[in-house]
């Protein structure tokens, strides 16, 4: 898949994306994250009902070579998780923004959820400054 960062998503410096729709956020990893890892062969996600906190780990992805923690972009309760990426972690490489979504979170604080998340333009600038 070509490098892409959809405009309608929000991003973190830990290379997660989230899409906020009302009081629910859908969370995944960015093109950059999966590219840096290489072929993803394993994924671990929280259970439905678990709480997640902004900036704290909520799961793990592993490539053949390395382990990488996932950091939640938002705080709240997991209401759905994508069993598909647990079964077929390669979806995280192939389709990280749609079929490769990870969890849906009911936001704890809807009003401030997006406050310190980056826009696409900000994230791209951040990636440039990192490289």
């Amino acid at each position: 898949m070509e490098k892409t960062y959809p405009e309608d998503l929000k991003y973190t410096k830990d290379h997660e994306w989230c899409q906020i729709d009302g009081d629910v956020a859908t969370v995944g990893i960015t093109w950059h994250a999966q590219d840096a890892l290489g072929d993803i062969v394993y994924c671990e996600l929280p259970e439905v009902g678990d709480g997640v906190s902004k900036g704290e780990t909520f799961g793990v992805v592993e490539s053949v070579k390395a382990v990488s923690d996932l950091y939640s972009p938002v705080s709240g309760e997991v209401i759905e998780r994508n069993e598909g990426v647990l079964e077929s972690p390669e979806m995280l490489n192939q389709d990280m923004y749609s079929a490769g979504w990870m969890v849906r979170v009911r936001l704890a604080d809807v009003a401030n959820a997006a406050a310190d998340l980056m826009s696409m333009a900000e994230y791209e600038a951040f990636l440039t400054s990192e490289s």
Partner: protein
């Protein structure tokens, strides 16, 4: 270490040009992957891959006592080799701890070429040099060589397509762990071509002058295009070797492990005619294992969800008994596999153990190794 401080192999520019992802490894700026580790791994298992292993070191023993001196340093019996034969061996401390694992090439009684791990080059050379005599010069010739590994079921057809005259027949007849000297490839000089490798597949390792390196590399990729020849990064080199249970120095074997517990007893010739460094300690280590004491490096298959990684604790009946030395998801076996040292009592195939992966104890079982067996090569 920043990129600027890293050493570059003579093929570095070609890797960058090919779009390889580059990393720091043993002081070198090396390609870790080109297109994807699983794809590269499978390409070696099914077709052929080229590895730049120029970071590996080479040390030469030259002089009338070359073989005799080397035979005191290494665990194998070099007098049992014929000229043109190579062997895998370990170099030990007096206490039996492994200083390095090496491949030794015997040209003659007066000339030996030893291939050593990149990260151990300085340490090894210092150690070997302490055995130097007037009749045995020991030289670090690492910077004189580019080393290219050609590995996979199509390795022979690829390499023979790049040589002329009788050379193709010579290469076809070359047995595993034998080598030929001074055979031109792609029209340029090589030092030796050995039928060796670190993947479990058939293949060759070409040691050639620096000026030949880029020419041979590019020509083999060009000639091999129709046979799906591709450059392979260090990540796939690691997964390929792990599926074969080949130890990696620094992880599976170190100065605090000995050859017998590492399952490398076959490279230790306790009864050769000369005493070698570590013999007494290794004799004891062997007896200890035979008595059911000590520990063994075993192959483990993870039975639950998760991938074992180096240093993860290994448990038996809830108690910690060892730790993982290497582990990954094996692309050819399709399972999470690992190696770990465990007490002999838990080393039998079929033993149920557990590996602690992020605070969860995941079932694992001692399994036969190699984890992967290439179809008749």
């Amino acid at each position: 270490m920043t990129e600027a401080n890293l050493k570059k192999t003579p093929l570095h520019a070609l890797h960058v040009e090919a779009g390889a992802k580059m990393v720091s490894f043993a002081g070198y700026h090396m390609p870790v992957q080109y297109t994807g580790v699983i794809e590269e791994h499978q390409n070696v298992r099914t077709h052929v891959g080229l590895f730049d292993v120029s970071h590996m070191g080479e040390v030469e023993f030259v002089g009338t006592q070359a073989l005799a001196v080397a035979n005191r340093i290494f665990s194998q019996d070099l007098t049992a080799l014929i000229n043109g034969q190579a062997c895998y061996a370990v170099m030990c401390q007096e206490d039996g701890g492994i200083i390095d694992d090496v491949v030794i090439h015997r040209f003659s009684e007066e000339r030996i070429l030893v291939c050593v791990n990149a990260a151990n080059r300085a340490k090894d050379f210092a150690w070997m040099s302490s055995f130097k005599t007037e009749d045995c010069q020991i030289n670090d010739v690492s910077d004189d060589y580019v080393q290219i590994a050609v590995q996979g079921p199509k390795a022979e057809s690829l390499l023979t397509s790049a040589v002329v005259g009788e050379s193709a027949a010579t290469l076809k007849a070359l047995k595993r762990y034998h080598f030929v000297a001074n055979m031109p490839v792609a029209g340029v000089a090589t030092g030796i071509i050995a039928r060796t490798g670190y993947t479990g597949e058939d293949g060759f390792e070409i040691y050639c002058p620096v000026s030949s390196g880029p020419i041979i590399w590019s020509e083999l990729l060009k000639k091999g295009a129709s046979q799906s020849a591709r450059p392979i990064g260090l990540a796939a080199r690691d997964s390929l070797r792990l599926e074969m249970r080949y130890p990696l120095y620094g992880q599976d074997i170190t100065e605090t492990t000995n050859a017998f517990e590492a399952g490398l007893g076959w490279v230790v010739k306790l009864h050769k005619s000369v005493d070698f460094v570590g013999k007494a300690a290794l004799t004891e280590a062997k007896a200890k294992l035979a008595a059911g004491e000590g520990r063994k490096l075993v192959g483990l298959e993870v039975k639950g969800r998760g991938i074992a990684r180096p240093h993860y604790p290994v448990l038996a009946e809830g108690a910690r008994v060892g730790e993982v030395t290497s582990g990954t998801m094996g692309p050819s076996v399709g399972k999470a596999i690992a190696m770990a040292y465990v007490p002999s009592a838990y080393a039998a195939v079929g033993t149920s153990l557990a590996i602690r992966i992020r605070d969860k104890d995941i079932p694992a079982e001692v399994v036969p190794t190699p984890f992967y067996r290439p179809p008749s090569t």
